[in-house]
């Protein structure tokens, strides 16, 4: 899932400056789970905007705003309400906001910020994180990722900043490299600390250009040839 949180209300009001009316769109997917754009939050937003003097022409919560076909079918029957509004306030993640903006010929304002998941897959029970680095180092580090366990993502071992096993950034956070040391020791693999790991290839750490710039991996384009401009 994707984690999102609502922007400060003042920021949202700023986007609506000079506009009189707005249509509010929420999402029954991740935004509902995140508590940022489900039915409850849409109703709260409606009340706050009306109190601030805005006319809310209508609201709708759709299952998965990230799916353009669902956005279009979900708004069928609300066309008049959408047309009557100066803009749409979209209460979901960055993908959903983009999908709505691409589907509806209307100004779309984001109501949420999408939170970096730090290598998890959303709300997750486990503490393990994967940064998708494309050059897995776990063999050298006892199965604990130095990129996500260490706040500096160091590959050559601990910095000098830890105190009593805790990271200099926060006493709540374990030093990732001390975790790695203890794991390697427990598994009889301390020799791994002597391995020299080459500097990371940041080309692999970044999303591949085709992932970022085109919809090559989007299911909706599966049967079409994608043109890279």
């Amino acid at each position: 899932m994707i984690l999102s949180e609502q922007k400060p209300f003042e920021e949202i009001l700023g986007y609506l400056d000079g506009e009189k009316s707005v249509f509010i769109l929420g999402c029954n997917g991740c935004a509902q789970s995140s508590g940022s754009g489900g039915p409850v939050q849409v109703e709260e937003m409606k009340a706050k905007l009306e109190e601030a003097g805005k006319k809310v022409t209508g609201t709708k919560v759709i299952d998965f705003l990230c799916e353009k076909a669902l956005v279009k079918s979900g708004l069928r029957g609300r066309v008049d309400q959408v047309a009557a509004a100066d803009s749409i306030l979209v209460m979901t993640c960055g993908i959903g906001i983009q999908a709505v903006a691409a589907s509806v010929n209307k100004v779309c304002h984001p109501a949420c910020n999408t939170v970096n998941l730090g290598g998890s897959r959303g709300e997750w029970r486990g503490s393990e994180r994967c940064q998708e680095c494309g050059q897995c180092l776990l063999d050298y580090t006892g199965g604990i990722c130095p990129l996500t366990a260490c706040t500096k993502s160091l590959i050559s071992g601990a910095c000098g900043g830890a105190s009593n096993g805790k990271c200099e950034l926060s006493p709540d956070r374990d030093c990732g490299w001390e975790l790695i040391y203890n794991r390697l020791k427990a598994k009889g693999q301390l020799d791994k600390l002597k391995v020299f790991i080459d500097p990371l290839d940041h080309g692999k750490l970044m999303a591949r250009p085709e992932m970022l710039a085109t919809s090559r991996y989007a299911l909706e384009n599966l049967d079409q040839e994608v043109k890279v401009e």
Partner: protein, 291 residues
């Protein structure tokens, strides 16, 4: 005699620190350089220490070199990627800078620009490897250089650790630093000669000159602050008591530091005096230590 020839000929070396200020005023740096030249073998020029933005270490190294004080150019990996690091190293060589100290660097969150992007493209070990390659006439990727440097690269190590894991990780990393080319080592501040002696026993097999770090105490409060807030620094209670009881705090702090240097001298190859604002008193410390 240069720092390199001094250490390579087995003589006891003295280094200290010169910290660039925030801004363009270099009067104090120049004054300190005048005062320290001839008294120390070289001075570290810190690089955006504690993630606080200041005048750069490359230019400041050049400034003190012009004043006749040999610089140890500190280079942290937090603020530059491998292209900028290698380029700055080539620039340093062109400016006559020979000693380079490779440091990973603190997190930006600890400094005065906590919103900054931390780079850490390289770290203290992989930067040393890059310096080694430049010394061999190529960049990190093996592309040939036109004109090559011959740096004297150094690195740092923390002596006091509060967990077994931290201790072993420091030693393992030191071994890797030496393996990829570190030719001298400066330590985090030491206050206990016995504990330093034990550390030296463990690392003597790496056959690299080690300069013990010392910080003169200015007050008992400073000692307590370091115990609380600076990883790897542990000031023993009896020294804190001495500082509390002292009427002349400065004289006592300098005497404690000089006595410590006397105890450390037979154990290592040099001393690194981090005066933190007391740069002008470094000659006093050296004299009191009988160096």
């Amino acid at each position: 005699m240069s720092l390199q020839s001094k250490l390579e000929s087995g003589k006891f070396a003295i280094t200290c620190e010169v910290g660039p200020l925030k801004g363009t005023d270099i009067h104090e740096v120049e004054e300190n350089a005048e005062l320290l030249k001839g008294k120390v073998d070289a001075a570290n020029v810190t690089d955006q220490q504690s993630s606080v933005m200041r005048l750069g270490s490359l230019v400041t190294s050049h400034v003190i070199l012009q004043k006749g004080l040999e610089p140890i150019y500190q280079l942290v990996c937090r603020d530059r990627n491998r292209i900028a690091l290698q380029s700055d190293l080539l620039s340093a060589w062109v400016l006559g800078i020979k000693n380079v100290l490779s440091i990973t660097g603190d997190l930006p969150q600890l400094g005065d620009h906590p919103e900054a992007k931390a780079v850490f493209d390289l770290d203290s070990v992989t930067l040393l490897q890059a310096i080694g390659k430049l010394n061999n006439g190529t960049d990190m990727n093996g592309n040939e250089l036109q004109g090559q440097p011959s740096f004297f690269p150094g690195a740092v190590v923390k002596v006091e650790s509060d967990t077994e894991a931290s201790m072993e990780l420091q030693i393992a990393k030191l071994e890797r630093k030496v393996a990829v080319g570190a030719r001298f080592i400066q330590t985090q501040a030491v206050y206990d000669a016995d504990s330093f002696g034990k550390f030296m026993k463990r690392v003597e097999k790496f056959k690299v000159p080690i300069l013990a770090g010392v910080i003169p105490l200015k007050s008992a409060g400073m000692a307590k602050y370091m115990n609380r807030g600076v990883a790897g620094v542990s000031v023993p209670d009896d020294l804190i008591q001495k500082m509390t009881d002292a009427t002349d705090k400065a004289a006592t702090g300098i005497q404690i530091c000089a006595d410590l240097i006397k105890q450390l001298k037979p154990l290592c190859q040099g001393v690194h005096i981090m005066a933190i604002g007391w740069e002008k008193r470094v000659p006093e410390i050296i004299q009191a230590a009988g160096l």
